[in-house]
């Protein structure tokens, strides 16, 4: 038996389906992300686990106990909201102590626990401040401490970093993950930011239109996307349009240059058009080798992004975007230069469907 089991969960609003066929089993201590565009049902699912929404059908078991029908205050969960949701009339310490007071813990226990939590979020001196005196990042850390103070069985986070700046987002991301690891608390994290989900999660549930598209580790999701939706939602893709030359040997022609795949092209006749996906980081500039495909083109755009230099190489109709690391010794190539790009046959993936 897994720690959290959700079976055949379904939520319907009138005629509209919010969530359906939702099944997952989460290990104790696992960090699971629900990833998807807005309206995909990820928040609705989280809110059903929290008890703020009632499922139309299906079951949710936490540590063997069916919680459907229980009120949120009977579920022993910790919840963190996008808008922090700190109580404005209470100090930081009172906010953190709120759940403990409600549970009628003795004062002698509450005080050291609050101090411990503030230590944990690295704001030990701010107990007497009010929420409005803190920055957004600090407020969200306090919200985290408040959610964790009562040692809940399950931690639920609903886009907790969306309201924050990029730099704070990145640092708080690893802080949350460190904390979660240290406490070993089972965690569900809702986000629409694929990088966040990839960076933090043990496993990711990619959702679209109320269904699970794929469930897997970040590495699986990114490198072996099961559906076209997952492939395009997670990461960036080059899509090449090529004419099938030899389906059995896996040869296609893209802008008059032949390239090889490491697999057959299923259900394809010579002359048909196919879309082929290629991740930017699988492409390198120069370095022609016999085991790699090479294509000649012209550099159309060079974007210096800091650590990464993103280069777009134009062939006749197709365009390949590739990433290289910045090197202080050699400036990036220039627009208009001719260039050869190479990539391994294994990195090419034929997408389903015939292209016009």
């Amino acid at each position: 038996m897994k720690f959290l089991e959700i079976e055949n969960l379904r939520k319907v609003y009138g005629a509209q389906v919010g969530v359906q066929h939702f099944d997952i089993a989460v290990e104790r201590g696992e960090f699971i992300s629900f990833l998807g565009p807005s309206g995909c049902g990820k928040t609705t699912t989280l809110r059903m686990v929290a008890g703020f929404e009632q499922p139309s059908a299906g079951s949710i078991r936490i540590d063997g106990r069916d919680v459907v029908g229980l009120r949120p205050n009977q579920r022993n969960i910790g919840m963190v909201f996008q808008s922090y949701a700190l109580f404005p009339n209470m100090t930081v310490a009172q906010n953190v102590a709120f759940g403990l007071k409600i549970a009628k813990r003795p004062d002698a226990e509450i005080k050291p626990r609050v101090a411990e939590m503030l230590q944990m979020i690295k704001l030990p001196q701010l107990g007497d401040r009010f929420p409005y005196q803190l920055s957004g990042g600090q407020q969200q850390r306090v919200a985290l401490a408040r959610a964790l103070a009562g040692s809940p069985q399950l931690l639920l986070l609903d886009e907790p970093l969306s309201a924050l700046d990029a730099k704070i987002r990145a640092s708080l991301r690893s802080e949350i993950r460190d904390l979660q690891r240290k406490l070993g608390i089972t965690t569900i994290y809702v986000t629409h930011d694929q990088e966040e989900a990839l960076a933090m999660s043990d496993r990711i549930v990619v959702m679209s239109e109320g269904r699970i598209e794929q469930l897997g580790t970040p590495f699986e999701i990114y490198n072996r996307p099961r559906t076209r939706f997952v492939a395009s939602f997670v990461g960036t893709l080059n899509i090449l349009r090529g004419k099938v030359i030899d389906p059995a040997k896996g040869v296609v022609r893209v802008d008059e240059q032949d390239i090889r795949l490491d697999q057959q092209i299923p259900n394809a006749a010579p002359g048909e058009m196919r879309a082929i996906a290629l991740r930017p980081e699988a492409v390198t500039l120069g370095e022609t080798r016999p085991d790699r495909n090479a294509m000649k083109g012209t550099i159309e755009e060079v974007s210096f992004l800091g650590a990464i230099v993103r280069i777009k190489v134009r062939f006749k109709d197709n365009l390949i975007s590739l990433d290289t690391f910045n090197s202080s010794a050699s400036p990036p190539p220039r627009r208009g230069d001719s260039a050869t790009v190479t990539f391994a046959p294994a990195d090419l993936q034929v997408l389903e469907g015939v292209e016009g």
């Binding site: 929290a50 008890g51 703020f52 009120r71 949120p72 205050n73 579920r75 969960i77 910790g78 919840m79 909201f81 808008s83 949701a85 700190l86 109580f87 404005p88 009339n89 709120f98 759940g99 409600i102 549970a103 009010f130 929420p131 409005y132 005196q133 919200a143 408040r146 959610a147 009562g150 639920l156």
Partner: protein
């Protein structure tokens, strides 16, 4: 360019003059009761008048009753609407705005016909009943202000998420209402209360048509029969209402500072 800048300033000057000139003139006049010198004689006379004390006391009592009933009616309603019935908000806003545009006279006629001595609830038959009716009337008049104040307070704190946060921490409804919601709208409720007080103290139409010994009709009575006292009374009424406004501003500023800090 120059001309367009002058316009708004002129408008503001006119606006300010609008309030200041009558006020200053009234104040100056109220000091002239004793011939040839400025004195506070008019104020002494007015404040010593037992009818002043009685009517002011009566209006204060009615105002407090109005505020208490209003708070009990409006805070839970507004909270519930914000929390669960957001779709109803336009309708409720519409209802709460009605008293602004339905003349007080219409309200009074309605009451007179509904609660007259031959009706099911003959409130008008006794003075206490009429007092109650007056309080109801004032509650109606104050509804738009009170509701708007409470609603603004509730909206500024994201009631829904705070309620959910408290629930997830194990809180029940009582705790949520008294520990989370009420402390955060107290300021808004207070400012609504002061506004209500100011409105009730100066109200004339309802009190006069229901024939109750309130401050408004007393003001009118004195105004019709005396020379200097009305001015003094007007100034007194102005100071009282101004003090209420000042309190609203103080509480409001507090709140605003809090908001700005977020």
């Amino acid at each position: 360019m120059k001309r367009s800048r002058l316009g708004p300033w002129l408008a503001m000057a006119i606006g300010t003059a609008y309030f200041l000139i009558p006020l200053i003139a009234t104040f100056e006049f109220s000091l002239r009761m004793k011939r040839g010198e400025y004195s506070l004689e008019a104020y002494r006379v007015v404040l010593a008048d037992p009818r002043f004390q009685a009517s002011f006391g009566y209006s204060t009592l009615i105002a407090i009753a109005t505020i208490l009933m209003g708070v009990l009616l409006i805070v839970p309603t507004a909270y519930w609407i914000e929390l669960k019935l957001r779709n109803l908000r336009p309708l409720v806003e519409f209802i709460t705005l009605l008293p602004l545009v339905i003349p007080a006279i219409v309200i009074v006629f309605g009451y007179l016909h509904t609660y007259n001595s031959s009706s099911w609830i003959p409130l008008i038959a006794t003075p206490r009943g009429t007092d109650l009716l007056l309080t109801f009337g004032y509650m109606t008049l104050a509804l738009p202000y009170m509701y708007r104040a409470v609603d603004t307070g509730l909206r500024s704190i994201d009631v829904r998420t705070l309620t959910e946060a408290a629930e997830s921490l194990g809180a029940g409804w009582g705790t949520i209402l008294f520990k989370v919601i009420f402390p955060n709208v107290r300021v808004a409720v207070l400012s609504g209360a002061f506004l209500t007080f100011a409105i009730v103290i100066g109200e004339f139409t309802l009190a006069s048509l229901l024939d109750r010994p309130a401050f408004g009709p007393y003001l009118q009575l004195v105004g019709a029969n005396r020379a200097y006292e009305p001015s003094a009374l007007a100034i007194v009424a102005f100071v009282v209402t101004w003090a209420c406004m000042g309190l609203i501003q103080i509480f409001g500023r507090d709140r605003r500072a809090t908001m700005a800090g977020r």
